[in-house]
């Protein structure tokens, strides 16, 4: 017992900083995926602050992953603002995911200056629960400013980053995730940076096109990196590859190819 008391005294020393203390204080909103919640500080997306989602290209499931949180935000009568999206947000799908469309705001701006301004206004206003924006053209200075605005306005900012090799760059954003689609409508997530916990951590979420149904954390044996035991010293980085940043539309080309038999198509042809 003396040892325990000594330890308690030692931990009370002002120069000792405990990582988990910070993580528990923040107010969060559940991601909708228990496996992901377990890994994020405070058990979900921080209600105030930026989150970075690195996606090699659109369509990895980066939006589906946010839907439970966005639905929750709109149920709280707070706005979900989407600033300069690359495509049209499709209203029926948003409604299907439980997002109250009367709390959804779309800002169509072109220039970097207006975009930045709109993002900052939205984050700072206090009316928005979540602000979605895309990182092209933004640098660290901008992001730091936006982070401050988000904290001030009590808003979640989601920054989608499609540029290559961002993982190596430093960033003022407190939570950084790298997303990678994999077969079977699954999404592989690498937590590159978080508060009060070791990184990197890799997990996999199962998304059902537009609607998340279940989440399965990757068993440690299968993952290349897996969950690193807490405080195990130097953390290894995942050696995941990030594809060059190509927008889907940018590289869409129709090429000649050898016809192949597709079971779904055959079935439909037979029915017809």
């Amino acid at each position: 017992m003396d040892l325990f008391k000594d330890l308690q005294d030692l931990l009370r020393h002002p120069e000792i900083w405990r990582g988990d203390a910070l993580a528990q204080q923040i107010s969060t909103i559940s991601t909708g995926f228990p496996a992901l919640d377990a890994e994020l500080p405070g058990g979900g997306w921080a209600r105030a602050g930026l989150n970075e989602l690195q996606v090699p290209r659109e369509g990895a499931g980066e939006l589906s992953m946010l839907l439970p949180a966005l639905a929750q935000v709109s149920r709280e009568h707070r706005w979900v603002v989407c600033v300069a999206p690359p495509y049209l947000p499709y209203a029926p799908a948003l409604g299907q995911a439980g997002i109250d469309l009367s709390r959804y705001m779309l800002v169509k701006v072109q220039s970097l200056e207006s975009r930045l301004w709109a993002i900052e206004q939205a984050l700072r206003s206090g009316a928005c629960g979540a602000v979605l924006f895309w990182s092209q053209g933004l640098d660290d200075r901008h992001l730091r400013r936006l982070q401050l605005a988000a904290v001030e306005g009590d808003a979640m900012g989601f920054c989608f980053d499609h540029s290559p090799r961002t993982a190596e760059r430093s960033s003022p954003i407190p939570l950084r995730l790298a997303l990678q689609p994999c077969q079977g409508a699954k999404l592989q997530i690498d937590i590159l940076k978080r508060r009060g916990g070791p990184t990197p951590v890799r997990l996999e979420l199962a998304l059902s096109r537009g609607n998340p149904v279940l989440s399965t954390p990757l068993p440690p044996s299968r993952g290349r990196v897996g969950r690193i035991p807490a405080w195990s010293g130097a953390a290894r980085r995942p050696d995941h590859t990030i594809l060059p940043a190509d927008s889907v539309l940018g590289n869409l080309t129709t090429q000649g190819w050898q016809p192949e038999v597709n079971p779904v198509l055959q079935r439909s042809a037979a029915r017809a």
């Binding site: 290209r57 659109e58 369509g59 990895a60 499931g61 980066e62 939006l63 589906s64 839907l67 009568h77 707070r78 706005w79 495509y87 049209l88 947000p89 499709y90 209203a91 029926p92 799908a93 948003l94 409604g95 299907q96 439980g98 109250d100 469309l101 009367s102 709390r103 959804y104 705001m105 779309l106 800002v107 169509k108 701006v109 207006s114 301004w117 709109a118 206004q121 939205a122 206003s125 009316a127 928005c128 689609p181 994999c182 077969q183 096109r209 537009g210 609607n211 594809l243 889907v248 539309l249 869409l252 129709t254 090429q255 190819w257 016809p259 192949e260 597709n262 779904v264 198509l265 439909s268």
Partner: protein, 518 residues
Amino acid sequence: MLWMSLVFPQLALESVPGLVENPQPWALTAEGRVFACNAAASRHGIQAGHGLSAALALAPMLQHCRHDPGRDQAVLEALAEWALGLSAEVVLEFPFALSLEIGGSLRYFGGLSSILARVETGLGKRQHQFNLAVAPTPLAALWLARSGTRGREPALQVVLDKAGLRPVLATLPVSVMDLPSDVLIRLQGVGLDTIGDCLSMPNTALSRRYGEGLSLQLAKALGQIPDPRLGYQPPEIFCREVDLQAPVQEISWCLPVLDRLLPDVMHWAARQARVVTRVRITLKHELHAPTLQEVGFAGAAQLEHLQWVLHEHLEKLQVPCPIVGLGVQILDSVVLDQPVADLLPGAPVRLREGQQLLERLRARLGPNTVLGLGLCDDHRPERSWTYREPGSGEPVRHRKSFGRGGAWMALPDAGTGVRNGPRGHGVAGDSGQATQKHDQPRPLWLLETVRDLGNHTLPCLRRPLRLLSGPERIESGWWDGSDVARDYYIAADQDGPQYWVYRNCRGEGRWFLQGIFA
């Protein structure tokens, strides 16, 4: 009854914007004489009452303009409007004073000191110099205020009971009374310099020599006879105009003038328990029709917000010629509805902030840049949604399943909801009342224009895509000329992304990419 009088010794100067603090000597003239002059002119030795030529001799660079009593009255009325926030009865004491009955307001504001503090901050914001006095009768209060010092510090004299009134009034000079100038001269001629001197005279003798007016005023001031007053009635509409001191070409130079009017706008609205929803700004030009700018608000409840949005709109305006005046008119307002407090703490309702954000974004980025989304009853994906006013009251029903909505349950055969086939091969064109189905997955991104993916057996995006599920037949729109018949599939690329593609059922059966499952 307790009356407060506010005397504005500099009102004539203050009613012309930018004149008081102007470093150049300025004077207002009336009938060839200096009526009032600013501090810079006083430093040159100019005083009210000097002939204009004498003043110009003292300061050759003196600039002057005509004194306009109408302008003073407009400013005094604006002040009366503000004073209505402190008292229900406000009397205009022309030309430069206001009387307020504050006996009834003491309890509400929590005492005299609190009212005085409000007066100080309110008039400080409007940059008016004032003298203040409180007395049991309006006339006594006015005289006390008039006798106040004319320095920078506001004079403040308070007499709370009628018994104490007589000795205080006795010390005042006779010039504070409203008397014809010849009566004043005659009074001073016989050595009656103070009100006390007059009071010591027999009343009948005073009336016989100097008219009924003098003894009546004295009796009213002492509260011996009643002194009924007619209170100021504010106009039902708000419309105010200010002339600029000199024509300006840049709109940004008018903005400080506008900012001085806006507190009055807010005050007018607050007094009527309304919020402003539409404002017209008029920029007047010489020899040109005025430039008008109308700005709508969802409800401008805060001064900073109103100011910010108006500035953004005005800064974008182009004016054809220099601006000589500026006007603000409230075109529309709505009754203020108090924000609905939430039952549980910690979840404040953010409706107003949302509207403010919307107005700010629109003011800067343009009206069509900020949009909301809504659903339409149509099967064709490109027509199943629409832009809406963000946060508009229009309810957007989420028909996730028909089983849940109470209304749908109650009206199973109403004909409005056409339940589609079991596997959802939605053919709803026949009824003309297509109902959106939501049990099929829909992509989160929609391409603004569909992309051709060739007419092979499989859709081709760089390489052939794998079809994961489908088809879902959407056939609709024969009645409005954009007839479609499509088989929708979900297709996947090798590295994961899933696309929403369709094949035209008619013609050569080309593939198109319409959405992305993000």
